[in-house]
Amino acid sequence: MAAKQIPVFDYMICVACGLCDQACPVSCLELSKCDVDAYKKAYPVLAAEQRCIGCAICEKACPVEAIQMADRVA
């Protein structure tokens, strides 16, 4: 069953460290958003929303609090 809440990333705060992706127990994130800055840093996205279980482990793991769990938009 799809999670009620999913992670939302604030790219103004995120530094693309990847700890969220590493912590995710179902590998539903991906470091593939390379258009945020001029360096082509690879920022996280929720690449496989159907796999997300809404556990919020990514939110907890983020060192800079750039992730917030938010209600899934239907």
């Binding site: 530094v15 460290c17 912590a23 360096y39 082509k40 840093k41 060192p63 800079v64």
Partner: protein, 662 residues
């Protein structure tokens, strides 16, 4: 939790026995995790005189105490073992995503003994650990094998994989262990040890969260660092072509002074370690032509081709180790090189550009990028491989290697096609490549004494691409560290950047001084080198990044991070005491294995005997014997022997281990 898990895994590959062992908190308080935990177990478990490629050797994959916590720049893991390259303590450091994955399985470290009868890999998650057949991936390169094992074992979480390529399988003494599509724990021959155990890979699929004492405080520090990193950017007008000019200016300066290491952040963000490509040549930092040349030989017509801008233009994306706020790595497109054999490669490090650039007089960037991918896939150390190719060219130049011996390869300086072919033969152990696949010391032993003058190494390991004649304390660490030939431990420049004096009571302040003063083995030089050594061991116990170290403790405060993670209430001085304990235990490991510390003294060329006749390091000689003596004495080791004294061993609480371990 205090950052660490409190458990390690032991795997006997001969019997198949796998057991977990809890580790008392007191061990972490004395040794941290990472290299310290490795030293604690390897010292006790590896018998004196053990064959590095035999079943008695123990190979550990160890994760840092801070790894996986909200502490930035702490995503490093180490492979530790008795080195087949040096005969003493071996370790190799790597980033990527593997370091937290070890802890996510519920262990701070995994140790292997014995040897499997057939190729195997270890699968681990938070519930089980089991050995599985690996015949289907044996013989594949590290990237191919990683992709197959990842796919096979991807249930919920995408697994992380540590894997050897064919170099490790072929027991090349300069083989490393790879992860993340070609990142490598490259040094000390750790890949050969893994190959000798017929252990192709370790697959980690655990999902356990990694906790620490005070995550809110750690996040507060990380947010402060992230904000500063974000603002640290190179002005648009600054191009890679300016670096050689900066290097030339540096080489002409008579004085040196403490620097703010945070300025390196902007350079790393834009270029990564390759910022030093041309600057190293003009400043004298990069060894040229097998350490006998200079920028007079490898001039602008050469180094302008390895301008870092040429590499960054190929970058399709940046690449971060887990928990890094900077992101010095990258993935570069190489489809136009060598007939499109490979689509991409990890951005080569400066070390690779220098070892296959100035060291062998090559000016073809495409060759460097291609060799980078060849070596990453084979799992062969690019520093040692480049050093060995340079040795081979000089042997050829002097008639020690003949066209018959090289199978028709014309090994002349800068002959890019021949260099590529030689690297391929070293990887495959084919023809002359078989003789060279174990590094310069082993090759010189086979080719006879006339070749030993061209075998540039320290204790059997080819040195990093930074010239000791430019920074004598770097040469000291090349020679006096229990893992010789390493450029990542310390130097005079490092000391001036680390700003340890702001945290550590006994660290002398960095002051502006004449460069000439660095060529004197003063008591202060001993204190500075000991400070660098101790701090590096704390760093490697924490899983910290070398480039974070070079930001300086005034910018990246490792001690504060450790306190927030553990809540131990230790001072910086007390953490440095832990560093001293780890370093002394690594030296004790070498003594136990029969190493005479003098045998690690770097080769004559690295000392400046005879001195160079041209270039920025003209006339420079390092007083290495005196520096080694003052370093050992300051450490509390025998001034003339390098053996830790009984008083030092007892003072660090290592006497009980020594009684059990020897």
């Amino acid at each position: 939790m205090k950052g660490y898990v409190g458990k390690v895994l032991f795997v006997n590959l001969s019997s198949g026995e796998i057991r977990a062992e809890s580790v008392p908190d007191a061990v972490y308080e004395q040794y941290l995790a990472g290299v310290g935990l490795g030293a604690y177990f390897l010292y006790q478990h590896i018998p004196a005189g053990a064959d590095p490629l035999g079943p008695e050797n123990m190979l550990g994959l160890v994760s840092g105490l801070l790894t996986g916590t909200p502490g930035f720049m702490t995503g490093r893991w180490l492979a530790v073992c008795k080195s087949p390259l040096t005969g003493g303590w071996g370790d190799a450091n790597c980033g990527g995503t593997l370091a937290p994955a070890i802890k996510q399985c519920g262990y701070d470290a995994i140790f292997f003994t014995g040897a499997a009868a057939e190729p195997v890999y270890l699968y681990v998650d938070q519930r089980r650990a089991e050995l599985r057949p690996a015949n289907h991936v044996w013989g594949l390169d590290a990237v191919e094998a990683e992709q197959i094992l990842q796919k096979e074992n991807w249930k919920a979480k995408k697994p992380d994989v540590a894997v050897i390529g064919t170099a490790g399988e072929n027991l090349s003494l300069i083989a490393g262990i790879c992860n993340d599509g070609g990142r490598m724990a490259a040094r000390s021959g750790v890949g050969a040890v893994m190959g000798s155990k017929r252990l192709k890979a370790v697959v980690l699929a655990g999902v356990k969260p990694i906790g620490c004492q005070d995550p809110a405080t750690m996040k507060k520090y990380s947010k402060q660092l992230a904000a500063r990193v974000r603002k640290q950017n190179v002005p648009g007008l600054v191009r890679g072509g300016l670096f050689p000019l900066a290097g030339r200016m540096l080489s002409r300066m008579k004085k040196t002074a403490p620097l703010d290491g945070f300025m390196t952040v902007m350079l790393l963000k834009k270029w990564g370690s390759i910022m030093n490509n041309g600057m190293g040549a003009t400043s004298g930092d990069s060894p040229i032509k097998n350490w006998r040349g200079s920028v007079v030989d490898y001039d602008a017509s050469h180094y302008r081709n390895i301008n870092p801008d040429h590499i960054v233009r190929r970058e399709t994306r940046k690449y971060h180790c887990a928990g890094c706020a900077v992101g010095c790595g990258g993935i570069v497109d190489i489809r136009d090189i060598h007939g499109g054999e490979f689509t991409h490669t990890h951005k080569p490090e400066y070390e690779t550009c220098a070892s296959f650039g100035g060291l062998v007089m090559n000016k073809d960037l495409g060759t460097i990028l291609y060799i980078n991918e060849l070596l990453n896939r084979a799992g062969m150390d690019s520093i040692s491989a480049g050093g060995t190719v340079a040795f081979a060219i000089e042997c050829y130049e002097n008639g020690i290697l003949t066209p018959e011996m090289t199978g028709g390869l014309e090994l002349s300086w800068g002959n890019a096609a021949a260099i590529v072919e030689l690297v391929k033969r070293m990887i495959a152990r084919q023809g002359i490549g078989d003789l060279l696949a174990d590094g310069v010391k082993a090759a010189a032993a086979k080719l006879g004494s006339r070749s030993s003058a061209y075998a540039v190494h320290a204790g059997g390991q080819e040195p990093g691409m930074h010239d000791s004649r430019m920074d004598p304390l770097l040469g000291l660490h090349f020679s006096a560290d229990p893992t010789p030939g390493r450029h990542t431990i310390g130097s005079g420049q490092y000391y001036d950047i680390l700003h340890l004096w702001e945290k550590v009571s006994w660290a002398p302040p960095g002051l502006s001084h004449l460069k000439d003063e660095d060529y004197v083995a003063s008591e202060e030089a001993g204190v500075k080198s000991v400070a660098c050594s101790c701090y590096k061991e704390v760093l490697d116990g924490a899983g910290g990044c070398y480039y974070a170290m070079l930001m300086g403790v005034n910018n990246w405060d490792l001690f504060k991070y450790l306190e927030a993670a553990t809540g131990w209430g230790k001072t910086a001085d007390e953490y440095m005491e832990i560093g001293k304990r780890i370093q002394t235990l690594r030296q004790m490991f070498n003594i136990k294995q029969g190493i005479d510390p003098w045998q690690f003294k770097m080769s004559s060329r690295m000392i400046g005997e005879p001195p160079l006749q041209a270039g920025p390091l003209k006339g420079r000689t390092v007083p290495i014997d005196d520096l080694m003596r003052v370093h050992w004495k300051t450490f509390g080791w025998g001034e003339n022997t390098g053996i830790p004294t009984p008083e030092t061993v007892a003072g660090l609480g290592l006497d009980a281990l020594q009684a059990e371990g020897v």
